[in-house]
C-alpha cells in the first residue's frame, strides 16, 4: 500500500461521503395492471463512510446489491430510504448517528440543517452542482458506457462543456491533457470508441471521469472485462491518479485479488447487507465472517501456493424474501441453531426433494418462524416429519425447531424467533455481522 501508516481515526475527521442506512427496493410487478406484489431488497440498510484519498473496496457475489449501492452513492438512482451525505464534518456525523428517539427541538433543527446542506438528494443549486462535479463514475462495460456515435473529444470534453469550464481550442487542449494523463494522446482525439481496444476504452472512461477534477470516483468493476496484463496497466493508472490528485475511490468488484491490491478498507456485502467491514489487511489476515472466509477460499491468490479452492454450497436466496436472522445462515458451514432458521428454509429444502415439494399443497404462516405445512397425503407429511428428525437436514436447523407436530397430512413447525444479526465491532474500525465470532473474546 502507498500509505501503510495512515492513521484511520485521524482521517475520520474528514469524511468525504457518508452512507447512512441506505435501502434500495425494486418493486416486483405482476399482471395486466402491474400490481406491486413484492419488493426485491437489493440494498437493505447499509452504512459506511468514505474518507478523502482512500480506496474503499465493495465486494460480494453478483446480486448482492453492490452495483446498485454504487449507483446510489453516485446519485444515479435514489435510495428508497436512508441517505447519502457529502462532506460531513465529524461533529455533524456524530449528530446524525445519535439515536433519533430522544432528540430535542434544537437537535432536530440541527439535523434538518445537515440534511439540507449535505444530503445528496436534498442538495440544490450550487451545492448540488458541487457534489455532481466531485463524484464521478466509471462503468464496467466501457463499450456500453461510451456513446458509439461520439468522438473521443466529445466524450471527454462533454463534462467540461456542460460545466462551462472550457470551449474552443482551450477545450481541445484540456482534453489532450486529460488523455495524456491516462496514457493516450492527441492522435486519439478524433476517433470513435469502437476504434479502441478494451483497455484503451476504459482509459477514455477514466479520462472522462477525471475531467472535472473530482474528489471521488465510483469504479463499478472497472477491470473485470479486461485481460490481466491490461488490468495491471489500468490498476497502476488508477493508483497513480489517486496519489497525484488525492482521489477517493469506491471500488466495486467481485475480484478479491484486485481489491486486496487496491483497497485500504473493505466492505463485504451479502444479499443487500454489509456482513463485514474493516481495513483490508485485517480482513485478509483475520476474516471474522464465514462468508468473507468462503469468498477468499473460493478464489485463492496466485501466490498462495497450491492451496486448494473451497467451494461454497448452495445458491444466493431470493432477495425478495431474504432469510431471517443472519442472511448467510442457509449456506454457512458453521451455522448454529441461533442463526435464524425459519419456515422458508424447510420450503427451500423441500424444493430439492423429488416428490415431496409437489405434494406440498399449502403453507399457512403465523410468522416467518412458525407455520402449518399441508400436504396432499399423510405419507408425504410423515416423510418430511421423519426427514426433519434425521441427518437429511442440517443439524443446526434440526436443533432450531422447538415445535414439530404431525397431524395427518399437516405438519406444524415452529422455530425459535431470532432478530436480524447486526454488525458488532471486532477491532479498530473492523466490524462483522456474525453471532459466532462475536462471543469470542
Amino acid at each position: 500500500m502507498t500509505q501503510p501508516s495512515r492513521d484511520i481515526r485521524a482521517a475520520a475527521e474528514d469524511l468525504l461521503l457518508s452512507v447512512r442506512d441506505v435501502t434500495k427496493h425494486f418493486p416486483i410487478k405482476e399482471g395486466a395492471l402491474q400490481r406491486v406484489v413484492g419488493q426485491v431488497r437489493a440494498v437493505d440498510g447499509v452504512s459506511f463512510d468514505i474518507r478523502r484519498g482512500e480506496t474503499l473496496g465493495l465486494v460480494g457475489e453478483s446480486g448482492c446489491g453492490k452495483s446498485t449501492l454504487g449507483r446510489v452513492v453516485a446519485g444515479l438512482s435514489n435510495a428508497t430510504s436512508g441517505a447519502v451525505y457529502y462532506e460531513l464534518s465529524a461533529a455533524d456525523a456524530a449528530r446524525l448517528d445519535a439515536p433519533a428517539a430522544d432528540r430535542t427541538a434544537t437537535q432536530s433543527a440541527e439535523i434538518a440543517r445537515i440534511e439540507a446542506a449535505h444530503r445528496i438528494d436534498h442538495l440544490r443549486g450550487e451545492s448540488a452542482i458541487r457534489f455532481r462535479r466531485n463524484c464521478q463514475m466509471v462503468f464496467q462495460d466501457s463499450f456500453a458506457s461510451l456513446n458509439p456515435r461520439h468522438l473521443v473529444i466529445d466524450i471527454v470534453g462533454r463534462p467540461l462543456r456542460v460545466y462551462r469550464e472550457a470551449s474552443g481550442s482551450d477545450l481541445t487542449e484540456r482534453v489532450v491533457a486529460l488523455l495524456e494523463q491516462v496514457g493516450l494522446g492527441r492522435q486519439h482525439l478524433y476517433r470513435y470508441p469502437h476504434q479502441f481496444s478494451g483497455g484503451q476504452r476504459q482509459r477514455v472512461s477514466i479520462a472522462r471521469a477525471l475531467a472535472l477534477d473530482p474528489a471521488l470516483i465510483v469504479l463499478d468493476e472497472p477491470t473485470s472485462a479486461l485481460d490481466v496484463s491490461v488490468q495491471a496497466q489500468i490498476l497502476n493508472l488508477l493508483s497513480d491518479l489517486q496519489r497525484d490528485r488525492n482521489l477517493a475511490y469506491l471500488f466495486v468488484t467481485h475480484d478479491l485479488s484486485v481489491v486486496r491490491h487496491m483497497a485500504d478498507r473493505l466492505v463485504t456485502m451479502y444479499l443487500g447487507r454489509v456482513v463485514e467491514a474493516g481495513p483490508t489487511r485485517d480482513i485478509f489476515d483475520r476474516a471474522e465472517h464465514p462468508y468473507t472466509r468462503a469468498l477468499m477460499a473460493a478464489k485463492p491468490d496466485l501466490a498462495d501456493g497450491a492451496a486448494g479452492m473451497r467451494a461454497l454450497e448452495g445458491v444466493v436466496p431470493d432477495p425478495a424474501r431474504p432469510p431471517q436472522g443472519c442472511r448467510f445462515h442457509t449456506r454457512c458451514e458453521v451455522a448454529t441453531p441461533a442463526c435464524g432458521w425459519e419456515v422458508d428454509d424447510v420450503v427451500r429444502w423441500l424444493e430439492h426433494r423429488d416428490g415431496l415439494f409437489d405434494a406440498l399443497t399449502g403453507v399457512a404462516r403465523d410468522s416467518a418462524f412458525a407455520a402449518r405445512l399441508t400436504f396432499a397425503d399423510a405419507a408425504a407429511a410423515r416423510r418430511l416429519d421423519a426427514a426433519l428428525r434425521s441427518d437429511a437436514v442440517p443439524a443446526a436447523m434440526r436443533a432450531a425447531i422447538y415445535r414439530q407436530e404431525l397431524r395427518g397430512p399437516t405438519l406444524d413447525l415452529a422455530f425459535g424467533r431470532v432478530p436480524e444479526v447486526t454488525l458488532t465491532p471486532r477491532g479498530p474500525d473492523h466490524a462483522a455481522a456474525c453471532l459466532l465470532t462475536a462471543q469470542e473474546p
Binding site: V230, A232, N236, H254, H261, P300, D301, A311
Partner: protein
Amino acid sequence: MLDTSPQAAAIAEVRDLRVHFDTKRGRLHSVDGVSFDIRDGETLGLVGETGCGKSVTGRAFLRLIQTPPGIIAGGSIAYRPQEICPTCTGAGCGACGQSGRRPEERTIDLLRIPDEEMRRLRGDRIAMIFQDPGKALNPTLPIGAQVAEVFLQHRSAEVLAKAQLSGAVGWAGGALRRMATQTDTRTDRIALAFPGARARRSALQSALDDMVAAALAETQIANPRAVMRRYPHELSGGMRQRVMIAQALACNPDLLIADEPTTALDVTVQARILELIRALQQRRRTSVLYISHDLSLVRRVCDRVAVMYAGRIVEIGEAEALFRDPRHPYTRGLLAAVPTAAAERGALAAIPGTVPELVNPPAACRFAGRCSARIGTCTTADPALQEISPVHSVACFLHQTEGAPG
C-alpha cells in the same frame, strides 16, 4: 519438438494448425502454426489473452469455425477415438490401464473428415462446454428437451433398447425409430398420437427422460426431474452451466473442450463447477482441453499448461514446472501482472504495449515489440518451441541452445 514421453499416449495431436480469417484489412493469422498433444486422461490448459487464438484452436477440434470468413490454412489434428475396453466393459482393468477405454486402431484427422462423420463425433466422442451458458442454451426449449437431443442424435439405439422397443415393427415401429433419431415427420407425430401407438411413444419418452435425469443428476443437480421442465432463463448461471456440462458429458466423450467454462460465473459458483468438472473427468478419465485466461485457475485445474500469444504457443510444460520456473518473457509478464498481496500498489508489472496486429505478421518473435529482454535475433527470426527440460518447452531465443533449428 514436444515433450511427449513414449508411454503417455496422446488422444489428439495437433500439428502446425493454421486458422486464418479474411477481414477487410487482409488475412488475419489467428492461429499460426500451433502444435501440441493432448495426452490420454490429462487436463491441458490453454491460456492467453483475448485474441491470442485460444478459442479458435479449441473450436478447430470440432470444426466450429465458420468458413468463410475462416480458412483452415493448414496443419492437422490427429485424433484417436477410443472404444470401451472389451475385457472389463468400462469398469477399468489392467489391460486398459484402469481407464475402461482403449484407443481404437484408427486415427482420424479432424480437419479432413467429411461433415457427416464430424457430425457423428460432435457431442459424442468430442464434446464442448461453452463460455456463456446463457447463449449456448436454446431459450425456447425446456432443459429436458435440450439434453435429450444429445441422446437422440447419438444414442438412438440405446434409447430404443431401454424402452424395449428395439424390435418394434410396422408403421408405429418406423415412426418410433424416426422419433428416436429426431427425423420424425408431422405424419409420424400424428400417427403416434393414436391410441395403439401412444403407450409405446410414452415408453420411449420415459426411457429418454430417465436417461436425461441420470445425466443431470451426474452434475449434482438436485431434483433433476423438476429442472427438466424448466427453461434456461428460469435457472441461475451455475445451474445453466451444470446443464451444459451434463449435455457435454451425456455420451461419455473421450475429449472435452472446455472454453472458459467459469468466466461468466461468480467465484463461489466457479469453484463448485471446477470441482465438478475435475471429479467427472477423473472418474471417467476424459481428456480435457481447458481454455482460460485465468492463470490462478489454470494452475489449480490443469496437469499441463500451454501459453499462447498472438496465434502461437510460446511456452508449454507441466503446470508445476511452468509456474515454478516460467521461462518465456510473456509468461513471466502475465504472472507478474496478477495482483497479489505482496505487490506494492501502483507497481504491478504491466506488460507495456498491446497485442500486435495479426494481419500478415512478419517472420519474427511475435512478442518482440513488447519484450523487455529483446535481443537482436528476435526481430529477424522466428523462434520455435524447444525443450529446456523433458517436461517443459519454450519458444524464445534467450533459452535456445547451440545448433538448434530456427
